[in-house]
Amino acid sequence: MSTPDSMDAVRAVTEGEYKYGFVTDMDEDRAPKGLNTDIVRFISARKNEPEWLLDWRLKAYQRWLGMADRDPKWARISHPPIDFQDLYYYSAPKSKADAPKSLDEVDPELLATYDKLGIPLREREVLAGVAVDAVFDSISVATTYKAKLGELGIIFCSMSEAVREHPDLVKKYLGSVVPAADNFYACLNSAVFSDGSFVYIPKGVRCPMELSTYFRINAAQTGQFERTLIVADAGSYVSYLEGCTAPMRDENQLHAAVVELVALEDAEIKYSTVQNWYPGDKDGKGGIYNFVTKRGACRGARAKISWTQVETGSAITWKYPSVLLEAEGSIGEFYSVAVTNNLQQADTGTKMFHLAPNTRSTIISKGISAGRSQNTYRGLVRVAPKAANARNYTQCDSLLIGDACGGHTTPYIEVRNRSARVEHEATASKISDDQLFYCRARGLGTEDAVSLIVNGFCKEVMQKLPMEFAVEAQKLLGVSLEGSVG
């Protein structure tokens, strides 16, 4: 179990890396709108990428052209068509001249939310994009931790740096779990990905701290087409935290990230996300389209990949963190809380591919819909003929708050092995009047009561989060649902 101290230290490490040139040689400029081979070349050139990666991007771009008008339409989401030629595909970190000079210039509503979440003052400035020099007090601590990770042979750096410093590893694993042309948005990402994290944990090493992208992502604004690759070599362990509970503003409406995880024999990767991108206002104006492809491959026997997500942000969430259980005895887990309020839409779930004997998977999904939002669990459990004794247990619960929202469950169960056992359970209900009254008769205000009941509803998932993340996420659930019960 990590401690708050180590969290701070890791944040400091990542911040330190920024300070030490995480985004060193990027120009302060922005490519023109639109997408063509020149733009792909431009992005690759700005990042001084090797020829093979440029080729990889160009191939992806060609495949993507072939998919034009094939953006997925099967999800229970709706939005106006996206004009992909009307987007910027490369922008350097925003000039400080445009940024707010102090918190006084920041939307008071945003500040009020930071307050409710108990975000420390310094972090608020960074999150709100205030033009501060992000100098932290604990650089020496950071250096110590960075040194410690280095001693263990752990690589934790930006994808750009990894391409330069560890090309063999990147070349071996990039696109090996999510192929360049996997789907429309993953393909787009492969052509134009901006930056992201790279993690390699050597054989037998247990990463001694939670790795977090919290600060680096903000500082470097890699967000729009993020690409993350985590490789856990045989017998290793890593816990990775992505995102943060504070609402993050971003001018780019479309986010199409790709995350690939590779776990070799006996390795374990725990990937936790708290996603709270700007959801748009109460009338559904603005807000991020979060179209993400996340997939892990258990490549070695007894490998384990566990996804935990708390999704409260974005106008539209479209993501299905999945696990390919390719090796005997491997384990996949998916624990999810998705909250939608106002006019948010979420279509999220997982895919568990049982491809080898004795593989196991667990899916726990809690969807909470309020306002006029639509919240869908969509999941696939597939047991291949070879996956003898495969086991899956799925529990999907929907909680509806108010009579104008929707909570939906669409599981696909495909079993091709007799010895498999697959169980799926789903329920939909509301917060009962009895529960609310009971809480209020004990002195709790309505919003506190809702927050308490919702947190109870999500408990099985919340307890899978690293502790300090969980505390923030609990508050987040309450804040996200404010005003949802009259």
């Binding site: 009254f437 008769a441 004990r442 002195g443 308490l452 947190n455 109870g456 999500c458």
Partner: protein, 254 residues
């Protein structure tokens, strides 16, 4: 002696149907009054009206709690002001540990009264001591509120909540229903331990049995939405022998 509760000519409807038809009742500080009555007489309605449940509408009359008109207060405000309802059917809240729930409740009240919040250590110490007196296992703290509790455990949990919250006015709605004699003794002892000069209680029950263990200062008989008779504790025995029929004019009521 001051009155904790004064109910005057209280009329109340539930989903448009009048259930309480002019209840008058005065409960002085430090006293325990019992409300007895046949099924359907309005006992539970009275408890919900006092606790401020939505859908229970006061159409006439008034309720004064410590001299203050309850009509303007929401259910949770009443609770924070010291009114406690021990539910006839305690509600299950999955996933929420009893301790988390209770700590939030206790501190909501303390905060409202301007008292410092109990920290985790003090809360735990106090809880454990009280659980012992109620013959409850410490694991009740970690179990989700009322989920998977037996009927008796739920009732004990209500008294545990009451002991932790330390209300000025406790309303015990059929706390004896579903309890065997041993559990009844434990629960009664728990309630009696909470008797003091600043705390008043309204004990609602169908049977005289409970009142052998929690001896009330006065007994009121509620029938047809009105208090039809009041008296000392001997009234309970009379009811036990003669039933409610003589009081309500309804021979079928027992």
């Amino acid at each position: 002696m001051t009155n904790i509760l004064e109910i005057r000519n209280l009329h109340a409807t539930v989903h448009g149907k009048e259930i309480l038809k002019g209840v008058d009742l005065v409960l002085p500080a430090g006293e325990i009054h019992a409300i007895m009555g046949p099924n359907g007489s309005g006992k539970s309605t009275l408890s919900y009206v006092l606790a401020g449940r939505d859908g229970y509408e006061v159409t006439a009359g008034e309720i004064l709690y410590k001299g203050q008109d309850l009509a303007v207060m929401e259910a949770d405000e009443r609770a924070r002001a010291g009114i406690f309802l021990a539910f006839q059917y305690p509600v299950e809240i999955p996933g929420v540990a009893n301790s988390v729930f209770l700590k939030a409740a206790v501190n909501a009240g303390r905060k409202a009264r301007g008292e410092p919040e109990l920290d985790a250590m003090d809360f735990l110490k106090k809880s454990k001591a009280l659980l012992k007196t109620l013959d409850m296992d410490e694991k009740f703290l970690n179990r989700p509120v009322n989920v998977g509790f037996s009927g008796g455990e739920k009732k004990r949990n209500e008294i545990f909540h009451m002991a932790m919250i330390e209300p000025s006015l406790a309303i015990l709605d059929e706390t004896d229903s579903g309890l065997d004699i041993d559990a009844l003794k434990v629960v009664s002892a728990g309630v009696n331990a909470l008797r003091n000069e600043n705390r008043s209680m309204l004990v609602i029950t169908h049977y005289q049995r409970l009142l052998e263990h929690i001896v009330p200062d006065r007994i009121h008989v509620l029938a047809g939405g009105r208090i039809v008779s009041s008296g000392g504790k001997e009234l309970a025995l009379e009811l036990e022998q003669n039933g409610y029929a003589g009081l309500t004019g309804d021979k079928s009521a027992a």
